[in-house]
């Protein structure tokens, strides 16, 4: 399923279903107040996957490749808004926060980035690379007992990506990679608040399995391109570039990382 959509109208063909209500090819049911998504010239490309799936490595490489091809790139990720990112950090550090509040703070963070960063970039013809998107937020909230319908409604005004890649890895592999990288596993990434297990490793595996199950449903609903996140960085990157090149109309996709990024290329 090559998503060779024309850049201007932004429509893609991969598994897009049920356009309801005021939905356009660019949103999930509702436009944001005051936003005309017909004006978007850029492309939104999402990379999803759990921590340790290689997302950030791939985004660094893709950014360099796209810039070398002459595309302006903007990035987004979770908890990176100017408005509430710090507040979320502070809330996570305490454990008095409830699930609903956290869900809504993340939604605020998401929409703040969308409105202040992503939409202006899309209007200016940028390629936006998203290091995770609201899909992760839905999966996390569902794992904590919040209804899917509620969450789908919450993110109804999100911009529909042109391409969404899901780097799929086994939780055990992700755990090992994360542990090697930071010698610790975060409280939240292992879902400790859910009291799944007293053992950190067990908790991480059980939590990530829940998230993964939710992602399977999301993948079907939103037409993700699932990729083997356990393959080598080089082969995942080759596949990503092939897909993105087809979408953006880039002719040849030869790429060699710069000296700065060469250590990632393995």
């Amino acid at each position: 399923m090559t998503a060779k959509a024309s850049r201007k109208n932004g429509s893609s063909k991969n598994g897009r279903k049920e356009l309801s209500h005021g939905a356009t090819p660019r949103n999930y049911g509702l436009p944001l107040p005051g936003v005309n998504d017909q004006e978007f010239g850029g492309s939104l490309i999402v990379i999803e996957g759990m921590d340790g799936s290689g997302r950030s490595t791939q985004i660094s490489l893709l950014t360099e490749w796209l810039e070398s091809e002459g595309f302006a790139v903007e990035t987004m990720g979770l908890r990176r808004s100017g408005l509430v990112a710090k507040d979320i950090d502070a809330l996570l550090a305490e454990n008095t926060i409830t699930r609903m509040t956290l869900t809504l703070m993340y939604a605020t963070d998401f929409y703040d980035q969308l409105e202040h960063r992503i939409i202006p970039a899309l209007r200016s013809d940028f390629v936006v690379l998203a290091d995770r998107y609201f899909y992760t937020l839905i999966a996390r909230a569902v794992a904590r007992g919040i209804e899917r319908d509620y969450l789908n409604g919450l993110y109804e005004m999100a911009v529909r990506p042109d391409l969404t890649f899901w780097l799929n890895v086994h939780p055990e592999v992700a755990f090992e990679r994360e542990f090697r990288k930071s010698h610790a596993i975060s409280y939240w990434e292992s879902g400790r608040d859910l009291s799944l297990s007293d053992d950190l490793f067990q908790s991480f595996i059980l939590y990530q399995a829940k998230i993964k199950k939710e992602f399977e449903g999301l993948s079907e609903r939103h037409g993700f391109i699932a990729m083997d996140g356990e393959a080598s960085v080089v082969s995942v990157n080759n596949e990503l570039r092939k897909r993105i090149a087809a979408h953006l109309g880039i002719q040849h996709t030869h790429y060699r990382p710069s000296a700065a990024l060469a250590p990632l290329w393995r």
């Binding site: 809504l104 929409y111 409105e115 202040h116 509620y150 109804e156």
Partner: protein, 253 residues
């Protein structure tokens, strides 16, 4: 599967089952929720204060809560307002996060433990104000789906001129978002406030039937209104449930 998470993890299974179903009319908690709504200057806060005093003097178990009072997201709201970073969507979401915190940590646990909860402004404030800011009503209704439905919602309705005059005479300076300056209604802050309040008033009126508001005439004398309010509370709520429990006291002794 519930539309909102239950408030605490430690609840017994019975309590979890109770808090699971959607809020709709079937409220399965022993408490009661009384709400006042209306535009600024409609007299609602004065009336709720008097109602609270009446109930307090009577010794009823009650808790008073205000819109926008949670310390948890206060810094974010303040920063957003000061730097004018807020769009209609993020303005709405931050207030919803704030409300969720109050709802999950105060309102719901208190309703479950049999309190009379008095709320100065509730979700209808968000509906009126955020729709006036061009947010989608459908999106907003979904956003606040986790909120318990009030037992009584008093809507204090005052003509725009009366309400605006009350505010303008008492308050030195209108804040940016409060005056709806983000909507570019007028360069003059007082005029913008007036137009914005007019829009909010129209949204409140829209909800009278759908949300079963008890409409109170905000131009009437304070004590007349209070009398009506107390009568309505007595008629609709079994206040005996909230009276000091004599048997419980004896048991404790």
């Amino acid at each position: 599967m519930s539309s909102r998470p239950s408030s605490t993890v430690e609840q017994s299974p019975a309590n979890l089952a109770e808090s699971a179903p959607q809020l709709e009319p079937a409220r399965k908690y022993p408490g009661a929720l009384i709400v006042v709504e209306g535009i600024d200057g409609s007299g609602k806060s004065t009336q709720l204060y008097l109602l609270k005093r009446w109930l307090e003097i009577g010794g009823y178990r009650l808790h008073f809560t205000e819109w926008n009072s949670s310390p948890l997201v206060k810094s974010a709201t303040r920063r957003g307002k000061q730097r004018r970073l807020l769009t209609p969507t993020t303005f709405s979401l931050l207030h919803a996060a704030d409300f969720a915190d109050r709802c999950e940590r105060q309102i719901l646990p208190l309703l479950h433990s049999g309190y009379l909860v008095l709320a100065d402004r509730y979700i209808y404030t968000a509906f009126a104000r955020d729709v006036a800011r061009n947010c989608s009503p459908r999106w907003l209704r979904n956003l606040y789906r986790f909120a318990p439905v009030p037992d009584i919602t008093f809507y204090f309705r005052a003509p725009l001129d009366v309400a605006v005059k009350r505010i303008m005479s008492g308050r030195p300076k209108l804040k940016y978002y409060e005056a709806g300056m983000d909507l570019n209604l007028s360069l003059d802050r007082a005029e913008s406030f007036r137009i914005f309040q007019g829009r909010i008033l129209a949204q409140y009126d829209e909800m009278i039937e759908s949300d079963k508001f008890v409409v109170m005439d905000g131009t009437m004398a304070v004590n007349t209104l209070q009398k009506q309010m107390r009568q309505m509370v007595k008629a609709r709520i079994d206040l005996a449930r909230f009276a000091p429990k004599k048997s419980a006291k004896r048991a404790a002794l």
